[in-house]
């Protein structure tokens, strides 16, 4: 059975290596100081999508991302790893969107895309850490959702069976297709970029990037349709202007503070197994570790 798979992905600032200049004085993110990367859990989702594709020959994996035009970078990155195509949903009027507006916009894009069997995405993005977009898209599309997925165990007869990673164990659930599955960071790592695909897709370009290419490469993109990355606007996906961007975002950021944790008290324990074990248990219980 060949599948039409959509992977939702986001280009995010690399917040894992935050330095002193990561935030501007006004409390917003200083994007210039942080490299833009493929949101890590979206890579886990991509791997699950590619495994479905491997198991179901003839399937296609399309990456859908909303962001600045340069988000086409992560689409190429996905192509190097195995994705077939990509769409950048990009428009000035989409800027400043919170999760509600973002999920509305992406749901509109999914509707425009039409025929799909399953939508995969990372659990959450490392810049906002909300984990809301995937579930909200499912709600807006009126389809089931499975969150915290660690592995897709089976996809057959119109159903998907998923292993979920929960706080205190795992749970296996089955959902009818189409549905949204958000993938946890504990899932399998994404496969590396492939040398052959890298050479095949390195000239892939979005509509706006194509304009800046040499004539030789423009004609290459015409000869090879798979090198064209679609760029969709808000109007193209029939988005209601009141539900997108700033107007569509009830969330307002008042201020961002840099919170520095300081130790207020210290405790000494003896160097014996029992006491160390108690401490470890306590730290797990209050979520300091684990």
């Amino acid at each position: 059975m060949s599948l039409n798979i959509i992977v939702l992905a986001k280009q995010v600032p690399d917040t894992r290596n935050v330095g002193k200049d990561a935030m501007k004085e006004d409390g917003t993110i200083n994007r210039a100081a942080l490299p833009a990367i493929f949101n890590p859990e979206d890579l886990n989702a991509l791997e699950q999508a590619l495994r479905l594709k491997d198991a179901n020959p003839g399937s296609t994996v399309t990456l859908l991302t909303m962001g600045l035009p340069r988000a086409s970078e992560i689409i190429r990155e996905a192509m190097y790893r195995g994705a077939d195509a990509g769409i950048v949903l990009t428009d000035r009027v989409l800027g400043g969107a919170d999760t509600l507006a973002t999920s509305y916009s992406l749901a509109q894009a999914v509707k425009k895309f039409g025929n799909y069997d399953i939508i995969l995405g990372g659990r959450q993005a490392i810049d906002g850490d909300t984990a809301q977009v995937g579930p909200q898209i499912a709600e807006k599309l009126g389809i089931p959702q499975v969150t915290y997925a660690e592995e897709i165990l089976d996809l057959s007869n119109g159903h998907v069976t998923v292993k979920r990673r929960l706080e205190n164990g795992v749970e296996t659930v089955k959902a009818p297709l189409p549905c949204v599955v958000t993938v946890n960071g504990s899932a399998a790592e994404c496969r590396p970029r492939n040398a052959m695909r890298l050479q095949k897709y390195k000239y892939a370009a979005s509509t706006s990037e194509k304009e800046k290419l040499s004539d030789e490469l423009k004609s290459l993109l015409e000869k090879r349709p798979y090198l064209n990355i679609a760029e969709w606007s808000a109007a193209y996906v029939d988005a209601d202007p009141q539900q997108i961007g700033l107007p569509g975002s009830p969330t307002k950021v008042k201020a961002i503070e840099n919170v520095v944790f300081t130790a207020k008290e210290s405790r000494c324990i003896d160097n014996d197994d029992a006491q160390i074990e108690d401490l470890v248990k306590e730290l797990i219980a209050n979520h300091t570790i684990g």
């Binding site: 496969r191 590396p192 492939n194 040398a195 052959m196 695909r197 890298l198 050479q199 095949k200 030789e216």
Partner: protein, 566 residues
């Protein structure tokens, strides 16, 4: 996570050597593949960009998972169960990563599933892999064997085996036997022809790297009653056919992740590769040259690792109130390590470019006849490759051992403990100057290029190249050293005694190597200021080394050889 390609600008410098234009254009035959293959380059810049991007993937995987796994692989190692090798967990993970990244069969043509990369970027990948995990470089690097199938097997065999290698099946070259190590003429493994044209192999092989591979190249005695190299042929054994079991694997000092196997052949079905009787005299020689270049790359990777470990520790470790790198005794060691690393790497890529050009011409010659100029050029580059391969394998592997030694020395007592990577680097380094021909055997292969003047001609060519004024004093120094070299060689040759030449061979070969590498660093510095320090430091090393050998030869009489006899 580190990227072992991006964090090392020296690699890009070597990749962007001016000769690459010629290599790429020849290799890509005017970029004709672009019509047929969606991943073939459109032009020179496109090809270079692809090498760069693919090496970045190599660097990412190596700096990430492979480097991370190296310690675990070293501790766990492979094991044998029911006659089969089971790799360490980390090794399996590494292989899977390389397969998924499409880094197998890099140098094979596209029509057989490869990337059609020239040898130079492929060797650069080997250099990077070795820095991450030296033992793993063997398993990955044995894709070299596909080159032998490509060069000598028939079309049907190429079609059957090479695409499998490109998809990630591993290879081995089964040459050594208990009584045939350096002396491969003594190989006894028996090959018997069957009425259907296939062969059966019977006997034992020993010290076979990755001996439980999917596809083996086997050297065996096809001519009953013969005793020398002319009775040996090359065979392809496919593991799917069965008949070969692993009796044991060696418990080694280093490169522990790479299984070294004793193999038992019991009526193992095999097929002839190429012509009978040509096994040793033609195919193994070609195979060995490729493998030697691979070990040279492995050695440079080890040198790089050793240098970086030592540098990081010397910056970090404080004694007497300051970082130890601030002490002359320590920074001198580091500068010397870097100079040896840069010298051997410069010679590595010079050699790989020579190999590239002659091999591409050989390949073109299968499609059309070469013009007289092309033939002449092919011959010249073949000779240069022949001269440089044993030189870089011999001296590069010795340098990596010296660097691994100094790396431990800089770590002091901590380096002797198992806590730091340097102890593994030290153990891994040791084999490089032994396998694929010991340093002593590299000298045997190299000495005729001393006596016939190949090295001297190379030196004269380098001497004639245009360089910046600031580098001219270094060249003047080398001109003086070349004179010493010529004098020493003349003194040895004058005696007209082969034993005496053999006795002095290593000294003369090393003198040539010192001068050649010193020139290469001047040329690197001419193109890139980052190499100036190493050009200066290596010039000093060359000066003392050449003077030492020249002095030894000048003050030695042939009769004194007697004193050295056991």
């Amino acid at each position: 996570m580190a990227n072992f390609y991006n964090d090392n600008p020296d690699l890009k410098h070597h990749l962007q050597h001016p000769l690459m234009q010629k290599i790429v254009e020849l290799k890509e035959r005017n970029f004709a593949d672009a019509e047929t293959y969606d991943y073939a380059p459109l032009n020179f810049e496109d090809a270079m960009d692809s090498y760069d991007k693919v090496l970045e993937v190599v660097g990412e995987i190596c700096g990430g998972k492979i480097a991370e796994n190296a310690e675990g692989v070293d501790h766990q190692g492979p094991r044998v169960e029911n006659g089969r090798v089971i790799y360490a967990d980390g090794t399996q993970e590494n292989l899977e990563l390389c397969r998924k990244a499409g880094l197998m069969g890099m140098a094979m043509p596209r029509r057989l599933g490869g990337l059609n990369f020239p040898i130079t970027p492929y060797i650069m990948a080997a250099d990077i892999v070795s820095r991450a995990d030296t033992g793993f470089e063997n398993l990955w690097g044995l894709q070299d064997c596909a080159e032998t199938i490509y060069e000598f097997a028939d079309e049907d065999q190429k079609q059957r085996f090479i695409p499998r290698v490109c998809k990630g099946e591993t290879m081995s070259m089964d040459l050594t036997e208990p009584d045939a190590g350096s002396d491969l003429q003594s190989v006894m493994l028996k090959a018997t022809e069957q009425p259907d044209g296939t062969w059966r192999l019977n006997g034992v092989k020993r010290f076979i790297t990755n001996g439980d591979s999917d596809i083996h190249l086997v050297l065996a005695r096809s001519e009953d009653g013969t005793k020398d190299g002319r009775g040996l042929s090359m065979f392809i054994y496919d593991k799917r056919d069965g008949g070969v079991t692993v009796r044991r694997i060696e418990n080694k000092m280093g490169i522990k992740g790479s299984p070294t196997c004793e193999l038992v052949y019991k009526n193992a079905k095999a097929e002839l590769c190429g012509s009978r009787r040509m096994g040793l005299i033609k195919y193994v020689m070609a195979l060995m040259n490729g493998a030697r270049l691979g070990i040279a790359a492995q050695s440079v990777g080890v040198s790089e690792r050793a240098y970086r470990e030592a540098l990081a520790y010397a910056k970090d470790r404080k004694q007497f109130g300051k970082a130890i790198i601030e002490f002359p005794a320590v920074y001198e060691m580091l500068a010397v390590m870097k100079a040896k690393l840069d010298a051997s790497r410069a010679l590595l890529y010079e050699t790989s470019r020579f190999v590239d050009i002659y091999k591409i011409y050989e390949d073109i010659a299968k499609e059309r006849s070469l013009t007289p100029d092309e033939r002449k050029e092919m011959k010249a580059y073949t000779k240069l490759a022949d001269a440089c391969t044993p030189l870089v394998k011999g001296m590069g592997s010795e340098y990596c051992n010296q660097n691994a030694y100094d790396c431990i020395q800089i770590h002091g007592g901590s380096g002797f403990m198992k806590d730091y990577a340097c102890e593994r680097v030290y153990r891994d380094a040791r084999i490089t100057s032994i396998y694929e021909g010991t340093t002593q055997l590299q000298v045997v292969a190299a000495i005729r290029h001393v006596t016939t003047g190949t090295y001297l001609n190379m030196i004269r060519d380098y001497e004639a190249q245009e360089i910046k004024d600031s580098l001219k004093p270094l060249r003047d120094n080398l001109i003086a050293l070349t004179e010493k070299y010529e004098k020493a060689v003349a003194a040895v040759m004058e005696v007209k005694d082969t034993t005496y030449t053999d006795f002095m061979a290593r000294r003369m070969v090393e003198m040539a190597g010192n001068i050649i590498m010193a020139y290469l660093l001047i040329l690197d510095a001419n193109r890139n200021d980052a190499f100036t320090a190493s050009a200066e430091v290596y010039n000093k090393i060359a000066q003392t080394e050449v003077a030492k050998h020249a002095d030894f030869i000048a003050n030695f009489t042939p009769a004194q050889v007697e004193m050295y006899k056991a």
